[in-house]
Symmetry: D2
Subunit: 441 residues, 4 copies
């Protein structure tokens, strides 16, 4: 099947011709994983064309780029509801989900995470959410099917994912919580994902319970907490968290969500220290927010007054993502991914920053050129003047918001797993409850 190669040549010779003045791009080839186009028929055996190495082999050899944030991106597109944040769109609007996968693939993602975030049964049915009607197995399987279909358009792997549960937050014991994880794991085994990701855990205890369930599948397991360098919600230090995850069997360890790249990498630095001191060797993984969060406490961006509907001024620029990718790589992180807020162009920036290390550019760079090179084609001369790296690297972007501050005062209710206020509740929240909570904040 030559489509892939043709596409590479096509992009190199024709579309990239416009970049003839930007020597840095001209000589690059397109990363095989990201070759896709919806205008071409893709052979279903495509995955056999590229030797489909497993995640650990890929990490041993070089950098793996993750994909971006599904719940935030699909919320903005109209397919996910902020609040429950559950992924029933995989059944209701599969084409929309598929399109987002395809954009991330094209942007350089080597892994398609099945859109199974919060797809545990106890979360699908919570406070009025009725997504559980689709069936926990059906939701997870539909997500896998979509991910595999797009992954095979390129050379990506797919990963089943699971995250923290209402059952644990409600004070459920290990057995009860693991039952929820097992339901998801069964679906992932059934549909044949390439590896598993346990992510978005605020309590390392629950994360190790998830890792245990996942390990039994025999697949490689990644585990990331949503913490910073101040430890988990129950006071376990970040360094110790990493050791606990490693001892539970995790092959890849790190942090996702809740913090911006700076705080995420600060946390991973602690994890690395913990693993080193314990003599443990694991791959490191970072999947931060695409929102600036210098002002949060250890609970993360949930506590920001702007969460989730006024985070716009905090959105990372593509240049912030360049810096993130470089700093993560320099720290030794090899699974460099992304979480809430990351749109396809943010992931492309990671892939462009690491193009030298990877030896290729993502397909979507066809429509970008490194460091703003595409501005060479702009009509206005003062915009053409911005087609250069130093311009963008040195810019501190204004907010256009004179009545806004740089930092917020985050909420800090300090409730953790087991607190009454966190207990699962199947009935919808009443207005009286909202009013009561509003009075507390």
């Amino acid at each position: 099947m030559t489509t892939g190669n043709d596409q590479i040549c096509f992009l190199s010779s024709k579309d990239f011709a416009s970049a003839s003045t930007t020597a840095v791009i001209a000589s690059w080839k397109i990363c095989p994983s990201s070759v896709t186009t919806d205008s071409l028929h893709i052979d279903s055996n495509f995955s056999s064309f590229f030797p489909n190495q497993g995640i650990l082999e890929r990490l041993n050899e070089g950098v793996v780029i993750g994909d971006g944030g599904f719940v935030f991106a699909l919320e903005k597109r109209g397919y996910v509801k902020a609040g429950p944040w559950t992924p029933e769109a995989v059944i209701e609007y599969p084409e929309a989900v598929k399109q987002l996968h395809r954009e991330f693939l094209r942007a350089g993602s080597d892994v398609m995470q099945c859109f199974t975030f919060y797809a545990s049964e106890d979360k699908l049915e919570n406070r009025g959410n009725k997504a559980a009607q689709h069936g926990v197995g059906a939701v997870n399987e539909a997500a896998c099917k979509i991910a595999r279909e797009v992954a095979n358009e390129g050379d990506a792997l797919i990963a089943g994912g699971m995250c923290q549960t209402p059952t644990y937050l409600s004070g459920g014991n290990k057995e009860t919580v693991q039952i929820e994880f097992q339901k998801q794991a069964d679906a992932f085994v059934k549909c044949g994902v390439d590896f598993l990701i346990c992510e978005y855990f605020e309590h390392v205890e629950e994360a190790t319970w998830a890792v245990e369930v996942c390990k039994k599948t025999g697949m490689a397991v990644a585990a990331t907490l949503c913490i910073n360098d101040e430890g988990d919600m129950h006071g376990v230090s970040t360094a110790d968290c990493a050791v606990k995850l490693a001892n539970a069997g995790a092959d890849i360890i790190g942090i996702n969500c809740h913090f911006d790249p700076d705080a995420t990498l600060a946390g991973i630095r602690e994890m690395k220290r913990g693993l080193d001191e314990a003599g443990l060797k694991r791959h490191l993984m970072s999947q931060p927010l695409a929102f600036k969060t210098p002002d949060v406490n250890k609970q993360g961006f949930i506590d920001l007054p702007e969460f989730p509907f006024a985070l716009e001024p905090r959105i990372l620029t593509r240049w912030d993502c360049h810096r993130y990718a470089r700093e993560a790589y320099d720290l030794g992180v090899r699974y460099i991914g992304a979480c809430c807020g990351f749109e396809p162009y943010h992931v492309r920036a990671i892939a462009e920053e690491l193009s030298k290390e990877r030896g290729c550019l993502p397909a979507a760079s066809e429509k970008h050129d490194m460091w703003g090179g595409g501005l060479q084609l702009h009509t206005k001369p003062w915009v053409r003047a911005r087609a250069r790296r130093d311009y963008w690297e040195n810019l501190s972007p204004a907010s256009g918001r004179a009545e806004s501050s740089a930092f917020s005062k985050p909420n800090a209710w300090g409730v953790t797993a087991g607190d009454d206020l966190l207990k699962q509740q199947k009935e919808a929240t009443t207005l009286a409850e909202i009013s009561n909570l509003a009075g507390r904040s």
Copy 2:
């Protein structure tokens, strides 16, 4: 065909059940124009189901909601290159374009603008851009086909669009410029669009030339300049611009792009005054940026140092869009649309704000609930406390950027049509040219 109606019922009774506590939503029906789902087979005769009134009839009866910004949204998704900003994606990646149309439809847009922005032949081939190879007719027709297909999934109209040309900026005369417009107009007539939009003109003179070409088609014509209340780039007052457009034959008059909602509405207020004083009655139309621009001069956001790759902190929140919609409506604007930066959720906010006036909610409100109502389903109690209108209306969002200012100092080179620096050039910009320009800024 009952699919549409079923869908309405479905959304009202089941999905919106979660909003039982938000009384304001419970009783609303879904706007017919926005009914769509990619999981359903849509009959190709769908448009006959809803009585397809023309744009002027719709404006006479109530509010028409436009769609959002294609070049910026598709740039972030990886299908449009910033710099040329041309729409060859309609041929290269039609599914990606179609998906964006569908999201806007679902968000409440009553008009699908064919993605023909900058699709004049002289722009498709400029400074190294090779998009003209597809043929100007082919590009415009492909765009129309996609727009019609999605419009028919609901009850939307489609509009062919044209905008300012390199030929005019290079000092071309009326005849030369109108030749470029005629090529696009021919394509729009051929594929049967519902009406025409002349938009994004910095010089009212060129806009009137475009309107003249469009009027000859017999279709209704909208004309919007990208100016504020300080007049066009050649010093014609904003009020006079409106009168000139009306006299040239425009049925709908207003402003698009280059400025945020505040400045756009300030400009339209001047236009309204001009039309009133001249005794002319036309529909008003606003399609502002989704970026805060309090600090720009009359050249608009192009001059901001952040344009186009560091505008993130300026992105409007959905609550900013609520305010925009209300202020536009109160000013008498009835074509309330959007331009660069507007994503589907921004358009949904317009539709939600005007839901009372329109008597319906967009389909995508299934995944939102008015004023953050979906947060009633959030796990964390302090986030549930934010499920209320007054919380979001009173929030001034922090930027998370302590080294950034609120305002920038915009470039102000002051070159207008005819200036050497603006002349069209088919060859790619050289690095020496960039370096020379950088020294000037």
Copy 3:
């Protein structure tokens, strides 16, 4: 008496020797008006040494520099109470008042305003203020005596001042209000001031009543309102205000207090237009705040939430004062003074900016050198690198306050003269009243 000349030479040759590298300073002489030193015996006939031209003669010939803000400076030094803002310190702490006068003289002020602000009897006794016990005549005379003593140390004029009264705000009629003004005028005549200033009037009507009283003394009269370009509190346009003041007999017309230099000069531009259109020729006078107020409404800085105890981040730098002086001069203002917030170093900056026009530098420049030249003597090399004009002119100073915004939302109660809430009241405010008012804001 050669002391003055010696001092000039002394400064030029010895102290300024350190500035040998800053050629711009070396050749300047010291302005005669500002020659003073507390280590020298000053002859009481000193004023005869310099030909004591009147204010109008001086304005006809060149620029006159006013002095700075007494109530704010003395509040910070511990001698004036914020709230009443009355000047009984002239009796209680004459040395402290004298020292401030001397600093302004040394900084370049050509006029010593007697510290008689708010020294009308109805203000000295209001809401618990007991300053009236000293007697309105005694307060005004003590102020004159101090001002004259310092003025005679150099070549400055002294001016008696009066401002808006509680009687007017309480709805008092012309006769009642003029009785208050007459008491102050009598004191000024008695102690022989050089001219009179009617200042800080929010309502032009009351200002003209004051001008009338002052004109009867036969002295030159300056009149300044505390308004911007939006007119007075009763809706009289700023241009019309100027005409009314001129017609009432004011020789010098302008704006003081309530707004920053930008807004003050915008208002004076309107006044100039009004006078020009009416064919009236008067000297223009500006005495703005030393606080940035881009966010206020027409009521001025009183409405800012930060007034009066948290205005620090808004304080002008000396470089802001340079710009103010230049812009005022270019607009044609020849009485370039200052109001609340202006400290001696701010006035020195005005005098330094206008040193070329005036042909001299103020005595206090001995301890400064133009444009930060003194930093040439700094130990740290990176601070020596800042001893240059372009460094300071291009700096936008950071606030060090990440939780603060650039703009505030000012109060806007909209009450004007005659409103019950503004009525004079001799009794102290009760806590219940405060609590009630707090509930309204």
Copy 4:
């Protein structure tokens, strides 16, 4: 002598009568140390009236409040040159210096620091500074005389001070450096100060050399470095610095200048930890800047681009000083003072915050009332509404500067003692040198 007591009664009964609604103030007496008025004859034996306890006795019994920043305050008044920052004003303009002392005394300062900052001979003659012509002994003695005169108007102590020398920065050895210190110490002994302060040392090594010289006088010695919690410029940890100072003989240990209250107290917390761990018991002393410096590195505010002529937006409000005083007290600091930027009203705020602990209010509170109580007398009702503690405590003041950021990027040249760029040089800096340095920054 009853003047003092009368004054107390006077303030309590009459002036404070206006505060009858603010119960908190009514019952307080005036701190004896701050009783002064320039309108009263002060008996020269006044100091015998109040039992003049030494500094250590006072610290053992309660809180001692220091005075504010002389060089910055007198620079703004026109008597000190920024750059050399030397105190020859004590000879040239003694009345101006005396007035500032008197204001601090009145504001609540228990210690008058002789204005001998940078009064070492090698600093008085440096890079064109000619202040050494007065003689190092004469300068130090003149400063003592002024301080004693004002101290005796109340019940304050006076302290001789010395600080880091150009000789040390130039790489001078212990013997050479101590010669400079000895000259100052001799003057302090001669004129009879109450104790000595070694302050503003960036290198603990030099500070210990100063302490050794001072200890030989037999007087109590305070020693403060200008560092934060990251250690001194040569890498000695902050905790170790404290131990070294204690071992050298310092009785009172802490930090002054270079950092805001937050960073200063963070540093003192480290010092306290170091002393505790070493089993050493010393009094703690804090004298921070009155400028916000969250963005500096370990070199302090000298590195901020705004130093020293554009620091205005960073100036502390009086409410920031309240918080500082409370936090210092809670940390165990008992010498709570102030440095550059602190004006008399800032010191008054410290004294007001600690009025309960001290059992008295400073004399200057006559013109303030706690927590903005004086606003009860304001004419405008919405300002009267601000006469309450919670209003001011919760306000984040806006900067009025839309083009400014919250944080700056500090210079960081990283040169320390011994570096060529820091070497003393008697000749004036040339313009060529400035130009060369400007190119480096």
